[in-house]
């Protein structure tokens, strides 16, 4: 199952929920970090092309 009941000692926190499976917390954090970099990439590309 993708979502299961939290079995950690303390479940009233986001990290406990995100850390329920192998790599789940890592994947979420990396996704959060990488996604805005697409936006930075395209906005820089627009700026570079606009300069010409």
């Amino acid at each position: 199952m993708l979502f299961e009941t939290c079995t950690d000692v303390a479940c009233n926190n986001i990290f406990a929920w995100l850390n329920q499976g192998p790599l789940t917390l890592t994947i979420v954090l990396h996704t959060i970090i990488i996604l805005p970099m697409f936006w930075i990439y395209f906005s820089e590309k627009k700026k570079l092309n606009g300069d010409k």
Binding site: F15, P36, I40, E44, N49
Partner: protein, 224 residues
């Protein structure tokens, strides 16, 4: 000559903005995690213990309770089970203040005698001597185990105190523990410290710790 197209990958501004974003986000995340951890590792209270509210680190009065170790199917690891039966250390139930003072003495002794020079406590220390994180639950010290027979004592805590005071008298291992001049009072503090440490939920660390003499003889919990 065709005009060369500017690449984002060679743009200093792109890398500067990316670095600023990653560093900034990581900083905020680490600060958040630090405060989150502080609340997670805060010691519980006596009331929480009495009500059976689980905390990673229970109150010092946990030494008044029976502590077990059970394999949790859902979490896939062994977790300490506190109570509900009482099993006071040295047969005397301690008040929250007395228990706190005894634990404090144990902690100071542990630091003064530098146990971590040889042993591991909660993942810190050396691997020369046995891991002490769950020493209280070690079947070696339980009824029917070799340590009570060797020291001639009838309870786990008395056997531990006797061993800690005269470790050089009991050759348990090729790497024998030296006599560190631990007094009886200090030894009692150390035993309380060890009992409290065994009640800490360490997410199953050290992994594969055996809980009964039978499990111990047959290769531990994970050998089944």
């Amino acid at each position: 000559m065709a005009e060369k197209k500017a690449s984002v990958w060679t743009s200093i501004s792109f890398w500067r903005r990316s670095a600023a974003w990653v560093t900034g986000f990581a900083t905020i995340l680490l600060i958040w995690l630090t405060f989150d951890t502080i609340s997670q590792i805060r010691m519980g209270t006596d009331e929480e213990l009495a009500k059976g509210i689980k905390r990673r680190i229970p109150a010092p009065t946990v030494i008044n309770y029976k502590i077990g170790y059970k394999y949790d199917e859902k979490r896939g690891l062994e977790v300490p089970v506190i109570g509900p039966e009482k099993n006071p250390l040295f047969g005397k139930e301690l008040s929250p203040k007395e228990a706190k003072n005894l634990l404090h003495l144990g902690k100071l002794t542990e630091q003064a005698k530098n146990c971590m020079d040889c042993h591991t406590l909660l993942g810190n220390g050396a691997y020369y001597a046995p891991d002490l994180t769950k020493a209280w639950l070690d079947p070696m010290w339980a009824k029917g185990g070799p340590m009570q027979a060797m020291t001639g004592k009838n309870s786990k805590e008395e056997a531990m105190v006797e061993f800690l005071m005269h470790p050089d008298k009991y050759p348990t291992h090729a790497r024998m523990m030296p006599n560190l001049g631990i007094t009886e009072k200090e030894a009692k503090g150390l035993v309380a410290f060890l009992k409290h440490m065994s009640s800490i939920d360490t997410n199953g660390f050290p992994r594969g710790f055996s809980k009964t003499i039978k499990d111990y003889e047959t290769g531990g919990t994970y050998a089944k």
